[in-house]
């Protein structure tokens, strides 16, 4: 099969498929569920198919010239395929988890529609080689996440969803202006052209600032982060998908795509970004220590960990960027596991306040084990995958001479350990405070366990993702040596 055609399929199978899902939902909900999974798996499988050519250094491109410079360009390089694989894979697990989780709520058609559409948009985003289409898919992810966050349609839920939508859109609009500035500088929205153009001229600072606003709002970084904990009202698979595994990674991806793979920033920008993200990591970690709602804690943890990813990307040398990308993957797996685990707890006990939980390890041992595994991965403890990514970050930062900022992040890492253990202890240890809550759905628990096992496997078989990431990093122009 023509490789460029695969690119189209990766994006459009889920998008077109999602449109059909409500129709299938009218026929049979099982069929719809199955198809939803199938579409996502299709994307995943096709993304996997791209790995061999990408590893051999090839860059696949699909390009269609359209009017006004809005060319539809899909580019599959290492970075894009890496993100595509990670996000589609996690999505598949989450969709699988949703089968049971969502089965007793209304609007399931809309749910699957939005889920799969989200994945399709995500694929479009990562593969897009044109700023306008990048923005296009970016907003589509915002749109779908808005509906997914407000899935329960209660007033408060919808208000939170609106907040998330507004904040991210505000950032996205700022970013759009940034894109337009770049367009004005280079005369094109095409990333390849932009890359060439910026070899000779520096990129406008205003554009960088505006794009950063977009990135930070999407990736929930200070000062645009508060929508993320609030969005915890969503169903757990949604929070896992959007806020842990995929949506918030969009910002980091675009950061890497633009600021590293397309053009270079001046060092001052790196310093500024590092300071912001360090503050973000610390403040979110502190908030996670104080919060009592299980999902909010995990959400704050996400904010904090996103700070780490930016830390790697902004340090900007090869090691650190590789670490940042690995972090995206490892954190995605582990944090999805945490959110899904929180979902199991929430669904089986009906409680989200950790002060009212306790002793669940006795009734929900598998969940507890998986939750612990995922926590350990997030903390960065070997043999879990999170260890390597964290090490690479620090190693990269130190070899760039950013020791002070590394120490700040070290404090953040300390706090990660503390708040995650606080969470684990309060939920699973101690005296049981609730009636005996069992793990009702084997499928859901299996999904959580699978993520934990994958986090472990990600550590033990680290060389595969690591190699992939190295390849992805090699093509970047914005690296600091």
């Amino acid at each position: 099969m023509d490789n460029a055609f695969i690119l189209l399929e990766i994006v459009f199978i889920p998008i077109v498929g999602s449109l059909l899902l409500p129709l299938f939902g009218l026929i049979s909900s099982r069929l719809r569920n199955f198809l939803a999974l199938l579409f996502v798996l299709c994307s995943f499988a096709l993304s996997l198919a791209l790995i061999p050519p990408v590893l051999s250094g090839e860059t696949l491109t699909f390009s269609k010239q359209l009017a006004l410079g809005f060319n539809f360009v899909l580019v599959a390089d290492g970075l894009a395929v890496f993100m595509a694989c990670v996000s589609s894979f996690i999505s598949a697990i989450i969709v699988l988890y949703s089968f049971d989780y969502i089965s007793h709520y209304e609007n399931r058609n809309e749910y699957y529609f939005m889920m799969v559409l989200f994945l399709g948009s995500m694929m479009g985003l990562v593969l897009s080689g044109n700023l306008i289409f990048l923005y296009f898919f970016w907003e589509m992810t915002a749109l779908t996440s808005w509906r997914l966050i407000g899935f329960f349609r209660e007033k408060t839920h919808v208000l939170k969803a609106n907040k998330a939508f507004l904040v991210t859109i505000f950032g996205a609009l700022a970013m759009l202006v940034g894109f337009i500035i770049i367009y004005n500088q280079t005369g094109s929205f095409d990333l390849a052209v932009i890359k060439e153009s910026f070899k000779t001229i520096p990129v406008a600072n205003l554009a960088v600032l505006l794009i950063l606003a977009g990135i930070f709002s999407k990736s929930a970084t200070l000062p645009f982060h508060t929508w993320l904990p609030d969005a915890g009202v969503a169903p757990s698979p949604v929070t896992a998908m959007l806020h842990a595994a995929i949506l918030v990674k969009i910002g980091t991806y675009v950061f890497a795509r633009l600021f590293l793979a397309t053009f270079a920033l001046v060092t001052d920008w790196h310093t500024i970004i590092l300071v912001i993200t360090a503050a973000s990591a610390l403040i979110a970690a502190g908030a996670a220590m104080i919060e009592k709602d299980i999902k909010r804690i995990v959400a704050y943890s996400t904010i904090s960990q996103i700070g780490f990813i930016f830390f790697g990307l902004a340090v900007g040398n090869q090691t650190a960027v590789a670490g940042g990308l690995l972090y995206i993957m490892m954190h995605g797996l582990a944090k999805a596991g945490l959110f899904l685990g929180a979902g199991v707890i929430e669904q089986n006990t009906g409680i989200r306040d950790i002060t009212k939980l306790g002793g669940l390890i006795r009734t929900m041992p598998v969940t507890a084990a998986a939750f612990l595994g995922c926590s350990l991965s997030v903390m960065g403890i070997p043999p879990f995958g999170g260890f390597f990514s964290k090490y690479l970050l620090f190693s990269g930062a130190i070899s760039s001479g950013r020791i002070a900022i590394a120490l700040v992040f070290l404090v953040g890492a300390f706090m990660t350990i503390i708040y995650l253990f606080r969470l684990f202890n309060m939920v699973f240890m101690g005296e049981p405070q609730t009636s005996r809550a069992k793990e009702k759905s084997p499928m859901m628990v299996a999904c959580v366990m699978l993520l934990a096992v994958l986090s472990l496997a990600g550590g033990i078989f680290i060389n595969y993702p690591s190699h992939f990431v190295q390849v992805a990093v090699q093509g970047m122009v914005g690296l600091i040596n």
Partner: protein, 614 residues
């Protein structure tokens, strides 16, 4: 041939996983697995003891992570020691944990820990070392948390402390790798300049925290109470000391050029001295068998750190010798504690007494080990301590004084412990106590004999095992085996031991019982207040740290709320204020609207007209 090194990993890890899989209720399979695995491990360690092997394959080339293992004299020594302890403690724990529901899990974690320890010791790549090093965190956590109901809190404490220090180790490794340009331990040789010193400090934090030195010690006394006893003998008493000090020795001796003149050396000595004194002060006033021992486990680390920190050969040899000695007598002591707990059902000293007659072999082992830890000749502790004294004296009288004071208090506290637990009147409820079962006695006796052998025939460990570590250059032909060279120091030691005995007599007479033999120190005017606060964990670095973190968190939380306020309140209010004004302007009167239009029109016209004149 070289890949036999993998057996050190595969055997315990595979056995551990297997142990997790076998049914836990039945007696037999799990015991068999742990015994077989530890024995096999010991066997391999013994067989390959003298061979220098290296094994290496690239694991993750991109990040400098090489799976390289190196078996040479030092690591072989540690591996052998660890294997021996593991085997003996496994033997012991088969009995001591026989009825516990968590035995299976404990065995599995035990074996996995052993595998990780082997890996950490063998690793010749810093990152690989870190991998195995931090991997122990999980089993540490799990092993503690299978204990009693409150054990998970201690487990968490342990995990947080060790986890944090391991992160420091990680940063240290990153820094070292950056400075040296390689992560292969045997190729690293760095000067202790500013960055090098920083790297050293980070690595050292990881190492001494594993060993249980202050200020990273505070989980150990808690674990002594909560965790299963074999755990204490296995990890804090022996294996963690072994690998902690092993790493400390490697960074001090191989990876960095540690000189007596450098500030790092002084710092290490201060840490050592402080650890010795503070921990032993705490040990003195404990009233729980295991808890008292656990404070000693901390205190003795001080000697090792002090010894290595002196950076003079005699001190280093002393420190390393003390490491292996301590692992022996302390695990022996913990095992006697375990035997007492198993037989008498408690380790609280006020409920014990007079057990010497009921458990004579245990008592004998206790005597040997206690004498060894107090530094009484001819047991092994005496010789290692003398070496450390000598080294410390070379660097400064104050350090020597601290070490000797520590010795005094150690002796005092063990006199108290022995007196309270084994002598005196037997209590009514302990009438039926019997000697511990054979399988528990064997390890104790073996280790106690080891203490005697290593003391009397100290040439064997020193010349065969320890002095090669320093290498011929450092030793410059000296040998530290045999009777201590400086008679003055020996005399001083005797004086101190005698003083400790007199002090004990005084305390017993003054306060009436062996248990209260240290009360005159405990309730001395100034010390009393300090002790009270210490008992309330006023000085627990962990609690202080947590408080600091909580304060930081509170600040962060306020920042977060402030940011949230901007979105939830400020933006909304400002927007609605604008909206309100606009709505108010639309008063429904069309004349108003007409005026707007006309004004707009006039402005448009004026603007257009002036645009031409310009």
């Amino acid at each position: 041939m070289d890949n036999v090194l993998l057996l050190f990993l595969i055997v315990p890890l595979a056995a551990g996983i297997l142990a997790l899989l076998v049914p836990g209720k039945a007696r037999g399979p799990k015991e068999l697995i742990i015994l077989a695995a530890t024995f096999l491990n010991l066997l391999i360690a013994a067989v390959f003891f003298k061979t220098g092997l290296t094994y290496s394959f690239p694991w993750v080339p991109g990040i400098g992570l090489e799976f390289s293992l190196r078996l040479y004299h030092f690591s072989a020594f540690i591996i052998l020691a660890a294997a021996a302890f593991a085997f003996l403690i496994a033997l012991y724990s088969i009995v001591s944990l026989a009825e516990k529901p968590y035995a299976k899990q404990f065995f599995a974690y035990f074996l996995i820990t052993l595998g990780f320890v082997n890996g950490a010791v063998l690793a010749d790549n810093l990152l690989l070392l870190l991998f195995f090093w931090e991997g122990q965190l999980i089993t540490l956590f799990l092993m503690i948390s299978v204990g009693n109901k409150a054990a998970f809190k201690t487990a968490t404490k342990a995990l947080i402390i060790v986890g944090i220090t391991d992160l420091c180790l990680m940063v240290g490794i990153a820094l070292t790798g950056h400075l040296a340009g390689t992560l292969t331990i045997s190729k690293i040789n760095l000067p202790l300049d500013a960055l090098g010193g920083m790297a050293f400090v980070f690595l050292m934090i990881g190492a001494i925290s594993k060993a249980g030195s202050m200020p990273f010690h505070s989980w150990i006394p808690d674990a002594a109470v909560d965790a299963p006893l074999p755990f204490m003998a296995f990890l804090p008493a022996s294996l963690e000391k072994l690998i902690g000090i092993y790493l400390l020795a490697r960074i001090s001796l191989d990876m960095f050029q540690l000189h007596p003149a450098s500030w790092i050396s002084t710092m290490m000595m201060i840490i050592g001295a402080v650890t010795i004194l503070l921990a032993v002060m705490m040990a003195l006033v404990q009233t729980d068998y295991k808890r008292l021992l656990s404070y000693h486990a901390i205190s003795q680390v001080g000697y090792m750190v002090l010894g290595i920190g002196t950076a003079v050969p005699i001190g280093i040899v002393g420190g390393l010798f003390h490491m292996i000695n301590h692992a022996m007598y302390k695990s022996c002591l913990f095992l006697t504690g375990g035997a007492v707990e198993k037989q008498a059902g408690t380790t609280s000293l006020d409920k014990l007494g007079g057990l010497a007659r009921k458990m004579p072999i245990t008592f004998a082992c206790f005597i040997v080990a206690a004498a060894a830890i107090s530094g009484a000749p001819p047991f092994n502790g005496f010789f290692s301590k003398e070496l450390v004294y000598d080294g410390a004296l070379e660097r400064g009288f104050i350090f020597y004084l601290a070490a000797v004071a520590g010795s005094f208090l150690t002796a005092a506290s063990f006199l108290k412990l022995g007196h309270a637990a084994y002598l005196g009147k037997i209590r009514e409820e302990n009438r039926n106590v019997k000697e511990a079962p054979l399988l528990m006695l064997i390890p104790m006796v073996v280790i106690a004999l080891g203490c005697i052998v290593f003391g009397v025939y100290n040439k064997l460990p020193l010349q065969a095992l320890i002095q090669p570590i320093l290498g011929p250059e450092r030793l410059a032909g000296h040998s530290f085996a045999g009777w201590p060279a400086k008679a003055a120091l020996v005399i001083a030691t005797f004086v101190v031991l005698a003083a400790a005995f007199l002090n004990h007599r005084f305390g017993v007479r003054k306060n009436g019982s062996g248990l209260k033999a240290s009360d005159h120190i405990h309730y001395a005017p100034i010390l009393r207040g300090i002790y009270d606060r210490a008992e309330k964990r006023f000085f627990d670095p962990y609690d202080i740290g947590l408080k600091a973190v909580n304060m930081l968190s509170e600040i962060a939380w306020q920042c977060d709320r402030a940011v949230d306020w901007i979105y939830d309140t400020l933006v909304v209010r400002v927007t609605y204020a604008c909206t309100h004004q606009i709505k108010k302007a639309h008063n429904g009167n069309y004349a108003t609207y007409l005026v707007w239009s006309l004004v707009g029109f006039l402005l448009v016209v004026v603007f257009l007209l002036q645009s031409v004149k310009m």
